[in-house]
Amino acid sequence: MVNDFHIISALVEDKPGVLFRVTSLIRRRNFNINTITVGATEKEGISRITLTMRGDEKTVEQLIKQLSKIPDVIKISEVKPEESVYRELAIIRVSAEDPLKRSDIINYVNVFRGRIVDVSKDSLTIEIIGRPTKINAFIEIIKGFGIIEMARTGIVALPRKLKTE
């Protein structure tokens, strides 16, 4: 992964308006993020926001410093890819009218440890989980068969140990 890629993980209060405050700040200060995900943590009342962005160190540092000023943001830090587990989920519907191609697709899905989650007369729906690079690689390969629709979740990450600021 190129090193201008950054994952930022924040623990935030789970209450109305928090995601808005975070995204409002990102927009206002002209930061450009790639993905943002929000979900529950092990603690009731606390959610985790994971966001990814491309940019230099200075930009990332500013983003973290600015976000940490939001009173609802309890803890925020950059998560180094090598010090964390991070995954993304993609659901991809591929056209598969030709039975020969259909088995090719299934082969690729197996190689990438994906799963076929839905089958129709002329398409296959695939679920694939992994690092974004893996998903990108899978998409590259499967593209040739004709992607009908696709949805990606953005990254969730868990630091192996969460460093505080």
Partner: protein, 561 residues
């Protein structure tokens, strides 16, 4: 104690020692106002909510405690926006309480519904809605803590009408926990202090840039002692005016686009800069690549996000200005460091003298700069100045020497025209025993002029000095310098007769056409019991000079228009 939510708001405000609230009531705040009616908190009825917010802001800046304003839902709340943005940009602790439509109607486009929390989130430290009366005590406590600690700033609390009418067991705890908000001790880190001392003690040409943070942290005394010890000249930002008395031998005045040339030049020549409580705004720095390019920079700021945001810093000190300065001072005393004289000071004094003649008035007519100097000579040092925005503001900044902190109140970051009058009213409420002057432009004054009615009704004797150039002068100046004198829509044409206008409001209106008259009127205004409006016709061609063109460096300074 089981009370109505509305009463709980008032009780909580009393616990926060709120003495005055600026506002305008409306449907969604009727219960709150009903409770307020019985309390001994003073209420000042503004004539526009923007003014209520500016008043609270002026009050806060003068008194150094949070200022409170209130408005009803919808249009009342949206009218606060400019005032809140002003407070945000200048880190002023303003608490805004807005009414909201009842909970069941939120999101239904109810009458006078506006998503005020959504609207002000980017211009507040925090904005939130209360969803049950039981939250009121903690919410108000939280709002005051957030507004008035660390880097200060506005907080808005939105309270639906039915929440105000709900009963609550009132229990006010002083200590509450906001998980994500840490009140900083403000103590500097010893390691940064050590590195800073290294730079300071080896500096040949040290210079201090004092920003608004010095005033916010009440660090003037520490600043003066420190600068005298290391013999560093002090320049200020617009917001820093008053951090050091501007007649202090070490003070060089304001830097920046309309800064004094000797001050800008000192920044250019310094080898170590100690910047305190400044965010290095673009009006202060000009072209970043050229700014202070010969200096190592020590940056003291309470807000870690300010460090390295605009200017690359050699030694960051995340700390309260007062604490950082006193630690630096005592460490220097400990090692016996002090400077008695230096070539640098001689150089700086030379610059001061060299440029002095450039600030003298030439030519016909009343000169704003001269008026500023006269004003300074007659009014007491503790008098408070507020300003409009534009040339009037910059003439005041350039030529009016501020002698005490919290006596120069201006819309620095937002540059909101219309700030001067309401801020003066707020200032006078905060300091009734001190003279308050609003140095204003005709355009700025016309934006919030209706609040003269407030000043008259409440018998708040402030003096408004209108530098009437019949123009949106500052914009006109740019058009003159950068648009080939194409004066696109900056002629105010038929400005009202400000004397009659003042009289219509029940204030005193006076036109002044000579320096002598000006002096007499100012002296008289010092004892006025009602607001005074002084109308001073000046030429629309008067310019604020020197000026560094936008995006330029001090080398491109324009001296003559």
């Amino acid at each position: 104690m089981r009370i109505l939510g509305a009463k709980a708001i008032v009780e909580a405000l009393k616990r926060e020692k709120v003495e005055v609230i600026f506002g305008i009531p409306g449907g969604a705040t009727i219960p709150f106002y009903d409770a307020l009616y019985d309390s001994d908190i003073r209420h000042i009825l503004a004539r526009h909510e923007q003014c209520a917010a500016h008043m609270a802001d002026g009050y806060a800046r003068v008194k150094g405690v949070p200022g409170v304003c209130t408005a009803t839902s919808g249009p009342g709340a949206t009218n606060l926006v400019t005032g809140i943005a002003t407070a945000y940009m200048d880190s002023s602790p303003v608490i805004a309480i807005t009414g909201q439509v009842p909970r069941s109607m939120i999101g239904k486009d109810a009458f006078q519904e506006a998503d005020i929390v959504g609207i002000v989130t980017p211009i507040t430290k925090y904005a939130f809605q209360i969803t049950s009366a039981s939250q009121i005590p903690d919410a108000i406590r939280t709002a005051f803590i957030i507004a008035n600690t660390n880097r200060k700033g506005p907080v808005l609390i939105d309270i639906p009408k039915d929440v105000q009418l709900e009963e609550v067991d009132f229990d006010y705890s002083e200590r509450i926990i906001i998980k994500g908000y840490v009140v900083r001790s403000g103590e500097p880190h010893p390691y940064s202090i050590k590195r800073a001392l290294g730079l300071i003690m080896n500096a040949e040409r040290p210079l201090i840039i004092a920003g608004g943070g010095v005033i916010a942290s009440n660090a003037s005394e520490e600043l003066i002692k420190f600068s005298e010890l290391i013999l560093a000249p002090v320049v200020t930002t617009l917001m820093g005016k008053g951090a050091i008395p501007e007649n202090h031998p070490l003070c060089l005045g304001m830097i920046g686009m309309h800064g004094r040339v000797e001050a800008n030049k000192a920044v250019e020549e310094a080898d170590v800069i100690i910047a305190i409580g400044t965010r290095f705004g673009d009006r202060t720095t000009g072209k970043l690549e050229e700014f202070a390019k010969n200096a190592r920079i020590i940056h003291i700021d309470i807000d870690p996000a300010e460090i390295g945001k605009n200017v690359k810093v050699d030694v960051p000190i995340v700390a309260d200005a007062k604490k950082a300065l006193s630690v630096l001072y005592s460490k220097l005393i400990e090692v016996g460091y002090s400077k008695k004289e230096s070539e640098w000071i001689k150089r700086v004094n030379y610059l001061k003298e060299y440029y002095a003649p450039n600030y003298e008035e030439k030519g016909e007519g009343l000169k704003p700069s001269k008026l500023m100097k006269i004003l300074r000579n007659i009014i007491p040092g503790k008098s408070i100045i507020t300003t409009g925005v534009g040339q009037n503001q910059m003439w005041a900044a350039l030529h009016f020497k501020v002698l005490e902190p919290r006596t120069f109140i201006t819309s620095g970051g937002l540059g909101a025209m219309g700030f001067g009058l309401p801020a003066a009213i707020g200032a006078k409420v905060a300091a009734p025993d001190r003279p308050v002057f609003d140095i204003d432009g005709d355009g700025s004054f016309l934006m919030t002029e209706q609040d003269l009615a407030t000043a008259v009704s409440e018998a708040i004797p402030i003096t408004v000095i209108i530098l009437r150039n019949k123009a949106l002068g500052m914009v006109r100046q740019w058009q003159c310098l950068f648009c080939n004198k194409r004066y696109a829509y900056t002629d105010l044409g038929n400005t009202p007769d400000f004397v009659k206008l003042a009289e219509a409001y029940g204030a005193e209106g006076i036109r002044v056409e000579s320096y002598e008259e000006f002096e007499t009127v100012i002296r008289r205004s010092l004892n006025a019991e009602m607001p005074v409006v002084i109308d001073i016709p000046i030429s629309p061609d008067e310019k604020v000079l020197p000026m560094i063109p936008p995006g330029g460096s001090y080398k491109e300074v324009i001296w003559y228009g």
